[in-house]
Amino acid sequence: MADLNISERQAGDVTILDMSGKVTIGEGSVALRNTIRRLLGEGKKNILMNLGDVKYIDSSGIGELVSSFTAVNKEGGTLKLLNLTQKIQDLLAITKLLTVFDTFDEEGAALASYD
């Protein structure tokens, strides 16, 4: 089984990525990078990452979130985060990245923020 599973849903012009597993050095980070690259290639620039079922993320995974964020911004899109676990929230606080990412606890509020 892959380290990271990513399934996609579309809500208007927002692509929701339901992610589960681990975003760590190696497969998990590569899977995320490839997904973001493909979505941008398809013109899908508004992306909401649902991290509710991501149980573990290391510095490489955090780096991949940052890299995704800058890649999406560069294309004129917006990447936001949904359903952070307490541990991921702690990691984003340690790295001061909570000041960078827009984060949400409710999908409806997250989607409304793209309007």
Partner: protein, 132 residues
């Protein structure tokens, strides 16, 4: 416990699993296990990527030792070494959007002691202690 791995990204996870298994036998709580997992993963990843530069002929040596009130973890690479004070602070505003450079910050946050030494036989040695 002592073991070595080749400098392959795919072997990092196995090293972490063995180290965490050792720590679990020592009775660490769930939060401490998470911290040990994170610190070992970052230290081994640094050794594989930055120390040994993914040269599979070079090993990363991991040793774990039970202390009276915690665990000592040592991780050695065969690289040229570096000075921790030369590593940019990833929380500085100008570094926030950089992809790399957060591993040392995580290690410092998740264990009680982390020290970097030049090994007398070459390479860098990271020594970490996590208390119960």
């Amino acid at each position: 416990m002592k073991f070595s791995i080749p400098s392959k990204i795919a072997d990092i996870d196995g090293a972490v699993v063995r180290a965490v298994g050792f720590a679990e036998e020592l009775g660490f709580d769930e939060d401490s296990i998470f911290g040990i997992d994170m610190a070992v993963r970052e230290a081994v990843a640094n050794a594989v990527k930055h120390g040994n530069k993914l040269d599979e002929a070079k090993t990363v040596d991991i040793s774990l030792r039970n202390l009276a009130d915690g665990i000592e973890i040592k991780i050695r690479d065969r690289g040229a070494g570096f000075r921790v004070e030369d590593v940019p602070d990833p929380t500085n505003p100008e570094n926030l959007l950089k992809e790399n450079g957060r591993g040392i910050l995580f290690m410092q946050n998740f264990v009680d002691v982390v020290e970097w030494h030049n090994h007398p036989d070459g390479g860098m040695l990271v020594k970490m202690v996590k208390n119960h």
